[in-house]
């Protein structure tokens, strides 16, 4: 370790925030760009499965709530791109990397939203899992990232409550609604567990990330915490978690549960999820169809700036 590296690590260990202008190891910067960028992309792509139901929301109130949620998510994307930009990468570069497939987004968004209950389940399970990941990151070592996380967590927990509220309505609703709610949890339970990533035992990078406080807990810890929190919620709803092995382990003080199918996880990562093609195509088309707009806005801003200079 060089002197600089030692000092850097000491600051991290002392829970000091690293700011953009501070010295930082190249790998710290690169890892953060990847992590924050992926998170930003997830917010953006995450608009699509929910957007799929905005035009079909069942009441005006639900439509308004969903619109507000999707708007928040785009906002989160914006904070996160800004945080990433402080590390010396532009939003456009990150976008190009998303569109070319070089950078990933959370694989959960490669699953479809097939019924209105999925909108509830996405709020409850997917946002629930996201929060589980994000809450500790409020204490991450990189200042802009930490501050973005604080804002985001506040809104996400609101979203999660709204999702749970949708599930509640359906679980207490007609037979068809109950069936819809159960079908949603059947499809989304394991993909939600996958959101924490494979066991850290298999990951080489986790140790370094944890030393840098870019990662605070292991994937397995978070997954366990998610299961422990979610099972009683499902019971309260009267819904069944699709796992025969799920049961309370008195000794451990945790629920035992089945691992998701990691082969499916890697398949989805590779691009073979149910919606990978549709999601990426939607974003690519938004970007290429919108080029003339971005060009025009830039051209107009330049004209205005030139006119201002000329007038002065």
């Amino acid at each position: 370790m060089t002197e600089e590296e030692r000092k850097f690590q000491a600051r991290v260990d002392a829970n000091e925030k690293i700011e953009p202008k501070d010295w930082m190891p190249d790998d710290y910067r690169a890892t953060l760009i990847r992590q924050i960028g992926q998170h930003a992309h997830s917010e953006i792509v995450g608009q699509l499965p929910e957007g799929n139901w905005i035009t079909r929301a069942p009441t005006l109130e639900r439509k308004a709530i969903l619109l507000a949620k999707v708007q928040d998510e785009a906002g989160h994307g914006l904070y996160l791109y800004c945080a990433a930009e402080t590390l010396g990468v532009s939003r456009d570069e990150l976008t190009e990397d998303l569109l070319s497939g070089k950078m990933k987004y959370s694989s959960i968004f490669n699953y479809p939203t097939l019924t209105w209950a999925d909108i509830g389940a996405v709020g409850w399970l997917v946002d629930g899992a996201a929060i589980m990941n994000q809450v500790p990151l409020q204490r991450t070592s990189f200042g802009p990232y930490s501050r973005a996380m604080i804002r985001i967590c506040k809104e996400e927990s609101f979203h999660q409550r709204q999702g749970y509220d949708i599930m509640m309505k359906m679980a207490r609703g007609t037979e068809a609604q109950k069936r819809m709610a159960q079908d949603a949890i059947n499809r989304l339970w394991y993909p939600s567990l996958m959101m924490f990533g494979p066991s850290d035992k298999e990951s080489v990078h986790s140790g370094q990330s944890m030393a840098w406080r870019i990662k605070i807990n292991t994937n397995d810890e978070l997954r366990q915490k998610f299961v422990d929190q979610t099972v009683p919620q499902a019971e309260y709803l009267g819904l069944t978690i699709p796992d025969e092995n799920l049961k309370w382990n008195e000794e451990r003080g945790h629920y035992d549960f089945s691992e998701p199918d990691w082969k499916e996880f890697f398949d989805v990562l590779k691009g073979n999820g149910p919606c990978n093609t549709d999601r990426l195509t939607a974003r690519q088309e938004a970007w290429s169809d919108g080029k003339w707009v971005r060009d025009a806005m830039l051209a107009h801003a330049r004209k205005k700036a030139a006119a201002k200079v000329a007038a002065e």
Binding site: T55, R56, P58, K63, L67, M170, M297
Partner: protein, 253 residues
């Protein structure tokens, strides 16, 4: 037509227009050219749906048959809708969507300003809440129309085409009928014909800045505000919008 029947129609015209335009705008979700526009479009749609709740809520109250805003939004077929035709035409490209928004916002802001002084306090209250939101919508859509009109050659051409496509739907905003006459007489809402001049001045100013020529034609498609003849597009909007309420009648969500 009793005064309350006219008032019911008036509320539907307001609420259906915000509902249908809110629906169209929300179709952009996740597909806008820049992230900031995704946010702005979602925000506009959200405001419009919020206004819909107020207008259709009042419509149900006035009607007095126990229908609430959701029942009015989700359980009427196309012919019972009273939205401006402008709000139901397809989004087209981003330029057309923003031009439509601007042409609507300009009317909306002028109209709501008069409704602030409505003799019906319920309407004045809705107008007060809505007009703040709409002032912001108008500022944004006007700025965007200017930027795209006076941007590149391509964007200028696209905005010209958008304006040409949409202009025939503007006249309907100012074509008064018996409902409007009843509202004007009761001091509830202005005679729409009387607003055209102010509208043209506002729109003309922005289009000029956008280097776009205001079309001279006064030809106007009509039939949305009175339900006589919608476009074929509305029916398709409703198949989506009303799906869940139609497929699962009586369920609560």
């Amino acid at each position: 037509m009793t005064r309350d029947e006219a008032l019911f129609e008036f509320c539907l015209r307001m609420g259906d227009s915000t509902l249908v335009l809110g629906h169209r705008v929300s179709e952009w979700c996740g597909h806008a050219p820049v992230l900031e526009e995704d946010i702005a479009l979602a925000n506009t749609a959200l405001d419009l749906i919020g206004q819909t709740q107020l207008w259709l809520g009042l419509a149900g109250e006035v009607e007095g048959k126990g229908r609430d805003a959701d029942q009015l939004a989700f359980l009427r077929d196309a012919w019972d809708f009273r939205n401006l035709l402008l709000t139901e035409v397809p989004n087209g490209d981003f330029g057309r969507t923003l031009m439509r928004q601007f042409l609507f916002d300009a009317w909306h802001s002028v109209y709501l300003a008069r409704l602030l002084k409505s003799s019906d306090k319920r309407i004045a209250d809705i107008a007060e809440k809505a007009s703040k939101e709409v002032a912001y919508h108008l500022e944004r859509s006007a700025d965007t129309v200017v930027a795209l009109g006076d941007g590149t050659e391509e964007s200028h051409q696209r905005m010209e085409a958008a304006l040409a496509y949409l202009w025939p739907y503007v006249g309907e905003m100012f074509a008064g009928d018996a409902v409007d006459a009843a509202m004007a007489e009761a001091g509830i809402a202005p005679d729409p014909a009387g607003l055209r001049e102010e509208y043209d001045a506002l729109v003309g100013r922005v289009l000029a800045e956008a280097t776009l020529e205001m079309p001279e034609s006064r030809f106007a498609h009509k039939g949305g505000r009175n339900g006589a003849m919608h476009t074929e597009h509305l029916g398709h909007i409703l198949t989506q919008m009303q799906w869940l309420q139609r497929a699962y009648p009586g369920a609560s969500w």
